[in-house]
């Protein structure tokens, strides 16, 4: 923005705050001296967040601090000039090296690249190739990077429309011949998108790497840079031709883990090390120097471009998180509203209470597809173990082995986008495409250690996590 003397903007100000600005002929970015009943203040008027009250004027003092002055205490405001913020990461042309792999970075939004938004008072996505090179120049050591902003949404606003557009664009990029794809994504629903892309983009010849950050890149200790460097390196150099998530391994700034798109889940609302592979081990760990593979049962990079894009999706699927005392009307309402697929996250091995049977019966009668997963996240559905399970299966509920509830939800959405045939739906749901169902749970696939236990404390003392 730059200051035009004629137009005084008043971004975000309303009510008494706006009235005071107008009364004194000043606006946002005016450098003002304010006389109030509580004394004199000097600073630049900043935009006001729309969610904040309408009673205060925000000033940036010379020291760089911001303060709020109550509009009702203002006696006079004198403008001494104007100085607008010019928030711009220094852009530099991303260097091209013919010997390096070509990677495309798709932006969907989220905190991997962001800047301040006064109106909301929060950070909003900002994304440009030059900006990225300006702030993370290490990327140029790895590849030739091209960026493309597809959407600018927070991850909670990702949905079918974006999934389909993204899958199609990935298909095109593969045909265009890129060596790897990185997708910048908000972390909240990154695992949903990773799963749905696994189903929509089948048999890709190159790595498709999802990445985000738990601390926005406007913070000095952000995880964005390391995540991005590792993701780009995975896309450029690894031979893992799958949809994966690349995010911090430990909370320490040391390495990232590469997780399979269908087995990964965000497990902490704010930790850097929030993404964990559930019920299995990750594919690899990676730091800016080295990729260390943990397994070799992954699909290899190929020279061909034979990817199969299947961007089907039905929005008539829902999820039911069972709780004790649940009444059948909750599920009945879903069925009556026309949902054709329901994924239940059941207790323990995959259970709901007896009263719910009535709703299950209705689902079967109406041809609604009901699938069972577990709230415990780790472990398999075991509907043969108890009578409850066997009764539910008789009511048409299909157990989904160790498929994660969110993965089951997006998979059922994808399947019902293609067919409504009960047997075909069942066949597709139970046929593992990208390890959403695994045959074995390895002994080290379930690790939630408890603090205070002596051997755990010993580990924590020795290993930076």
């Amino acid at each position: 923005m730059n200051g035009k003397a004629a137009t005084k903007t008043t971004d975000g100000y309303r009510g008494p705050g706006l009235a005071v600005l107008q009364r004194h002929g000043v606006g946002v970015w005016s450098d003002v001296e304010v006389q109030t009943m509580g004394g004199r203040f000097r600073g630049i008027i900043l935009p006001r967040s729309e969610t904040a009250d309408d009673k205060h004027i925000v000033l940036k003092l010379n020291s760089g601090y911001n303060i709020g002055v109550a509009a009702e205490t203002v006696k006079s405001m004198t403008e001494h000039g104007r100085r607008a913020a010019n928030y711009k990461i220094p852009e530099q042309q991303f260097p091209i090296d013919a010997g390096k792999p070509n990677v495309v970075l798709f932006g969907t939004g989220g905190t991997i690249a962001s800047r301040l938004d006064y109106r909301s008072g929060a950070v909003i996505p900002a994304f440009s190739p030059g900006e990225l090179y300006g702030s993370v120049p290490e990327l140029a050591d790895v590849c030739n990077l091209r960026t493309e902003k597809l959407f600018g949404v927070f991850s909670e606003n990702m949905g079918p429309e974006q999934y389909i557009a993204l899958a199609k664009r990935i298909g095109q990029a593969i045909e265009e011949g890129v060596d790897g794809i990185v997708i910048g994504h908000g972390t909240d629903t990154m695992h949903h998108t990773a799963a749905v892309l696994t189903f929509m983009v089948q048999n890709p010849p190159i790595p498709i790497v999802m990445v985000g950050s738990q601390r926005s890149s406007d913070r000095p200790s952000s995880d964005a840079a390391l995540n991005l460097i590792c993701a780009v390196k995975t896309a450029a150099e690894s031979d893992i031709a799958e949809v994966v998530v690349c995010m911090f391994g430990p909370t320490s700034d040391e390495y990232c883990l590469i997780h399979r798109g269908t087995r990964v889940r965000k497990m902490h609302s704010s930790y850097r090390s929030t993404f964990r592979t559930i019920g299995d081990i990750p594919l690899a760990m990676i730091d800016p120097q080295t990729i260390t593979l943990f397994r070799d049962d992954y699909k290899r990079r190929r020279r061909d471009r034979n990817v199969h894009i299947n961007p089907a999706y039905s929005d008539e699927v829902t999820m039911l998180y069972y709780y004790p005392g649940m009444k059948p009307d909750v599920m009945e309402a879903m069925i009556e509203k026309g949902y054709r697929g329901i994924v239940i996250a059941g207790t323990g091995l995959g259970h709901v209470n007896k009263p719910t049977y009535r709703a299950l019966q209705l689902a079967m009668d109406k041809g609604v597809h009901v699938y069972m997963t577990v709230q415990t996240l780790w472990g398999f559905v075991g509907m043969y173990v108890y009578e409850t399970g066997r009764e539910m299966m008789a009511l048409g509920v299909m157990p989904l082995a160790n498929m994660l509830p969110e993965v089951a939800f997006v998979k059922l959405s994808w399947v019902l986008g293609q067919t409504d045939d009960r047997e075909e739906v069942k066949r597709l749901m139970l046929k593992s495409i990208g390890d959403e169902i695994t045959e074995r749970e390895p002994y080290n696939g379930y690790l939630i250690y408890q603090g205070a236990v002596p051997e755990v404390q010993e580990f924590l003392k020795k290993i930076k996590r």
Binding site: G39, S49, H56, G64, R219, P220, S221
Partner: protein
């Protein structure tokens, strides 16, 4: 070595400082006495050097709100530090190491800070905005300090003038550094997040001494609230120093006030010296535009060098590089501070920014002490195509670090052509200072998007006003009027007993002098004797003082009774009721003249007068006996007078012998 540009520290006068245009400002940091830390619920004031786990972080510079990079941030980026944080379960949660967003700001801290803002007569802001102040040295795991301004433009009375206070901020404390070697820096996180206020004055102090005095005044204002922490590290100050033609330089984190004057003196001397060097360089035609430098890898050339540090570097396969600074010959030995020469400016930068922390880390061609052999310097001069008036600096270490070092040497040399660079400097024990980082500017401020603004309604300010203490200088004046000795005034004007003292002066008519003796000296003696005198409530002490004012208790008796009660009582708080109970139990009443005469007469009767060669000796003996019995109950003077009078009546014939002895 030449002499410093200033007279020795002890000989400097205010006129001398006025002559160089010395200006000093202060940033006083004071931890607040709160239950919790500022942005999380961890307990405040718990320290532990042991740790349960470690977390590693790196820092990258980010843009300010106005879209600029901060110079300090860019400097720290060059250092490429691995920063390790030590975590102890009792002192930190996931907030401190930045894996959980902040909780709401601590209310207790805001209230204390408001009280202080009122005492410093600042214009209060109506809405607090939390800002992030970038610190890329790693002293805070987020890479920024959460901080907010409560008020601006206040003032303090000082001597016959006022010192303006620019602002008062409330912020979270940083980590304690454990070690910093090469690229590895380690911090303890226990202190991290503790609430502290920062009081910033305008640069209106003109001598080192008065800077220390103003610092002490601010500290007293803080302590007068009784709501700030005390002890080592609870108060730390940054001192801003500049001389005419120089630059504002910040000496960061001075732990004790008495260190301030010498630190200022040395910084003033350094700035004057640097200005002299600039003038000389400019005279030689070396300016920011004409400066010429070069640097080369000279490892091969020095393969047979005898100078031990270079020898050992080559043995360890490290690189040696030489920087040529054209026109700098003879200047590197210029004294800047006490026992410090200009060359240290280069060595400091190399240590801090290139992380070559093993000293010595440079050697230069002006060096008078141990260095390379002359023939090695000759070889280097030839290789570097250096003329006689050029200086050479050698630096050794890891290839990448040495490259950074050479760049930094050139940067520092360029700065020398235009005077004094804006530094943050660390105070050293000997009163000199060393480079810590480039002085940060307003560019490092960024609004905190994790927390909404906090309104400070008028009622809240009024609540703070209602509980705030009297201005400390007013208290001092009252005490001084009451003839309290200066040492006691300084102790008591910030003590929690201020109100008690004022009440005792007003209601009981007791002198400040006596109250000083009782409440400063006696209380301290009792504390040293581990009697825990802090257990006395104000009311309890008032009851004791009242007994004295009613002459039930002599001056000497006050401390005697205090100790008696402390020894007898196991209670954690001793009230006035406890004191009254003891007074009643011991039946401590005002002794009438008659009763006293009776005591004296009995004592005279009981004494074996034949034991004493003179009546004077007898009187001394009797006085001792009587005071043993009456200590605390009757004033010694009264006993002496009564004894003298009575003895006169008993031994009139001997009167002449001892009158006046």
């Amino acid at each position: 070595m030449d002499a410093l540009p200033l007279k020795p520290f002890e000989e400097m006068t205010p006129t001398d400082y006025a002559h160089i245009g010395l200006k000093c400002g202060l940033e006083v940091h004071q931890q607040l006495l709160t239950r919790s830390k500022l942005f999380c619920r961890c307990p405040a004031g718990h320290y532990s050097s042991s740790y349960d786990a470690e977390v590693l972080r790196h820092m990258r510079p980010t843009l300010s709100e106005m879209g600029e990079y901060d110079g300090t941030a860019l400097m720290e980026k060059k250092t490429r530090k691995n920063i390790t944080y030590r975590l102890h379960h009792a002192t930190v949660c996931t907030y401190e190491f930045d894996d959980t967003p902040p909780f709401f700001i601590d209310d207790q801290a805001i209230d204390i800070a408001l009280e202080l803002a009122l005492l410093l007569r600042l214009n209060l802001v109506n809405e607090l905005h939390i800002a992030r102040k970038q610190y890329l040295d790693g002293s805070i795991p987020t890479g920024f300090q959460r901080t907010t301004i409560l008020g601006v433009d206040g003032w303090l009375p000082f001597k016959d003038r006022t010192i303006r206070v620019r602002q008062l901020g409330l912020e979270e404390d940083s980590c304690r550094e454990v070690s910093d070697h090469g690229h590895e820096r380690t911090y303890l996180t226990d202190r991290l997040g503790m609430p502290l206020i920062e009081v910033v004055t305008e640069p209106e102090m003109f001598t080192p001494q008065e800077t220390a005095e103003v610092c002490n005044l601010i500290r007293k204002v803080c302590r007068s609230t009784q709501k700030v922490r005390r002890g080592y590290g609870a108060t730390r100050q940054d001192v801003n120093v500049s001389v005419e033609g120089g630059t504002r330089v910040e000496i960061k984190g001075v732990p004790q006030i008495w260190r301030i004057p010498r630190l200022i003196y040395n910084e003033a001397s350094r700035q004057v010296a640097l200005l002299g060097i600039m003038k000389e360089l400019n005279r030689r035609g070396v300016t920011p535009d004409t400066i010429t430098t070069a640097s080369k890898d000279v490892t091969e050339l020095l393969i047979k060098a005898s100078y031990a540090p270079v020898r050992s570097a080559i043995d360890r396969n490290l690189k040696v590089r030489c920087v040529k600074l054209c026109g700098f010959a003879g200047l590197l030995n210029t004294p800047t501070q006490e026992h410090t020469i200009f060359a240290k400016e280069f060595s400091d930068r190399v240590r801090v920014i290139a992380c070559l922390s093993e000293l010595p880390n440079i050697v230069h061609s002006d060096s008078a002490s141990e260095s390379l052999w002359p023939q090695d310097w000759q070889k280097l001069r030839k290789r570097m195509q250096a003329h006689e008036d050029d200086a050479l600096i050698l630096v050794w270490g890891d290839d990448r670090d040495v490259q950074t070092a050479c760049e930094e040497i050139v940067i520092r040399a360029t700065e020398a052509t235009s005077g004094v660079p804006s530094d943050t400097r660390q105070p050293l024990k000997d009163g000199t200072n060393g480079f810590e980082r480039v002085l940060p500017g307003a560019e490092r401020m960024y609004p905190d998007t994790d927390l909404p603004p906090i309104e400070i309604p008028a009622e809240r300010v009024n609540r703070a006003r209602a509980v705030m203490p009297e201005f400390v200088w007013q208290t001092e004046a009252t005490f001084r009027q009451g003839a309290m000795v200066e040492d006691d005034i300084q102790r008591l004007c910030i003590s929690p007993r201020v109100l008690l003292i004022q009440r005792a002066m007003n209601e009981l008519g007791l002198s400040g002098k006596l109250l000083g003796v009782v409440l400063a000296q006696r209380m301290r003696a009792l504390a040293r004797a581990e009697r825990r005198p802090e257990r006395f409530s104000d009311e309890a002490l008032f009851a004791i003082l009242q007994a004295h004012s009613q002459e039930r208790l002599a001056k000497e008796g006050i401390a005697w009774l205090m100790e008696l009660i402390l020894v007898q009582s196991t209670k954690d708080e001793i009230t006035d009721a406890d004191v009254i109970a003891v007074l009643d139990e011991l039946d401590i009443q005002k002794m009438t003249d008659q009763e006293l005469q009776c005591e004296v007469a009995c004592a005279i009767q009981a004494a074996d007068r034949t034991q004493f060669s003179t009546v004077a000796k007898l009187r001394r003996f009797l006085m001792g006996e009587l005071m043993k019995a009456l200590i605390g109950l009757v004033d010694g003077r009264r006993v002496w007078d009564c004894l003298t009078t009575t003895l006169r009546t008993v031994e009139p014939n001997l009167a002449e012998q001892w009158t006046g002895t």
